[in-house]
Structure formats: C-alpha cells, structure tokens
Amino acid sequence: MAGEIQLNSTTMATESSGTITLSNVNSATNRTNLGLGSMATQNANAVALTGGSITGITIVPTTPFSFRNRIINGNLSNPINQRGAGSITASTGYNYDRWYYDGSTYLYQGIEDKNVNNGTYVISWEGSGINAAWKVSTDTTAGNGPDATTGFTSISNGGTFTVNEGTEYSKHLWIRFDGTLANLDKVQVEEGTVATPFEHRPYGTELALCQRYYHRYINGNQQSIGIGHWWISSAIDTSVTFPVAMRSAPTLVATSGSNYYYILTAGSVRYISGAFSIGRASTNAAQLSASPDVGDTAGRAGLVASTSASSSIAFDAEL
C-alpha cells in the first residue's frame, strides 16, 4: 500500500512498500511547517547563512581565526614605515618595514624561519599587474636572506603551495613580487587552502611585529636616549632596552654630525659629534658608547639626548 505524509496539507514524504522517501523538504512552505525558517540552507557540503545568529555552539577550526597572516605589514595602503621611506620602492633595500626592494624589479618579504612550519599555504593580495613567487631559503646561515633571485616558484593570486622541510622552523620562506608594485596591497600568506579576507591587526600589534626586525629608537631633536655615565674621562656609555625581543642582536644605525647629541651632566652640556658604537648587544638590549667632544670626570652620570633634527638612532635585525 502506497501513501504519503503531509504536514499542514503539504506533502513531505511518500511511502512505497514500506519505504519512506522524504521529498520537497527544502521548499519554503515545508521549511516553515518544520520550523526551520530561512536562515540556513544546505546544498551538497556548503552551508549558506543569510542572517540570524548562532549561539551556544563550539567551533573548532582547522586554521586559526586570528594571526593567520604570516606576512607582516601587508596593509600597504596604510603601512608601518619607521624608516620614513617615500614609497615601498623608494631605494634599494628596506623601505616600508619588512619589505626589501632590489632596486630594479623585485620586492621581497622574508618570513622568519621560526614562523615557518610545514604545511600548505595560500597567498592572496589586492592590486592588478602583480606577479608573485615563493621560495624556501636554501641558506644554512641565518640572516643571509635570499641568496639569489633564482629558485623561486611562481604562484597565482589565491594559489597554494606546500612547505615540506625535513626540519621545521629551520628555513626562511621568501615571498617575491614583481610587476606594478605600486598597486600591491593587502598581502596575506596563511596556512590552509582557501584565501580568507585580509586580517587587519591592531596598529600597535603590527608595529610590535615589525620592531622585532627594525626599531627606530629616536628620530629628531630633543629626544631622550637614556641615562649615561662617564666610564673614563673621554667616553660615555648608556643602555637601551628594546620594546620587543629582536630577531638577532641588531646593527646600530645612528646618524652623526656636529652637536647631534649631548650628555647633560653636573650642570654642564657635553656635546657628542662623533659616532656611537654598539656593545654588549643581545636581542633584548644594547650598550651605546661615544666620545663626547669635551671630556669630563669619570663616574659622573647624566641624561643623553638628541639635539638635532637630523639625529636618528635605529636598530636593524632584518633578514
């Protein structure tokens, strides 16, 4: 005997020889009769939500919701720019934080080995006329960067690639761009196979991520450097603590010139026109030393500060 099941006079299922077949469940009338509403529909393995909210559930993602992007300073329309570069391609070297320009064609970002685990990654960016490529650094000495422009593999926007190194966290992942570099924006490299919307991290967080590789300590006139002291009558030392642990002990990059800095000590001003040097450097702090233009008594202390608009002290631990 064949039959059918109806709800509010609408057929929901048919029966034949003891077998019940659901039909037409997804029609608007039947969804209403079943109390399903219209928030979610499923077709194959995709679920489309068009409104409402979900509460009281636990979601376990296969990739993280936040800190997905391994690229630092990828928001190039509002970049971190501690060096004050005019553009991302202003000169050969690092301009905007973390981005290295070779002076003619290529723009690189190196993802530090400590952030490169084995897995599949997907790359995405905004901007037309851009080409991309990737490479796991073959350098065995940390800090050398991409040893050549060869060995890169091209990849399209939204494309995936796989890192599979024998020892994880041992090599840098280099991402390279060429083309109309001025158009490049919202660069993202994330673990997984599906590119997600660009992750906007808080500005302070992004700046701190950049400061692991480059830290502009002072830039301009009348900025405090720290408390210094005269170790001997001809030389002073001061100490600087970095805001975040840097990738390596950093290079000191400081401008120098006539009366660029001074030390205020015992009621006197002692100008510093020569270069600073770095010592006892670690990833956390460093000693800065200099010979003021006029000597003073060993053991005296004072405030070391800048006295010129051209005064600048930075620490560089880039790849």
Partner: protein, 66 residues
C-alpha cells in the same frame, strides 16, 4: 639580495677585556655598528666578504668602552 657594498670595517674593543665587541663599518654608504652575532645579516655579510678575501677588518683602536 644585492651584495652589500662595504667600504670600511674596524673592530671596536672592550676596555675591560680588550676583546672585540663590535665592528664599525660603512655599509652601502651608511655608518653602522655591527654586533658580533652570526645571525645578524650585516655581520654575516662582513664575514662572508672577509672569507672571500674582498674585505679586511682593521684592528681596534685603543678601547674606550667598558
């Protein structure tokens, strides 16, 4: 990366130990003070050029730092 153009390099010495403490170098026209850390890219490049025989690091002057 482009090879760095290093036109001068001289050790800075520690007045307490007399040991070398950093390298004062002119790299790509910029005066830098480079710590003796193999993970530092400037130090790695300096030592690479020394090993290649294209750069000599001058010994330190009388140390002035503790």
């Amino acid at each position: 990366m482009e090879q760095m153009n290093i036109t001068s390099a001289q050790y800075n010495a520690d007045i307490l130990t007399s040991g070398n403490i950093s390298i004062q170098a002119t790299i790509d026209g910029v005066n830098m003070s480079v710590p003796l850390d193999p993970a530092n890219r400037h130090y790695a490049e300096i030592m690479g050029q020394v090993e290649a025989g294209t750069l000599v690091i001058q010994p330190a002057d009388d140390p002035e730092t503790p």
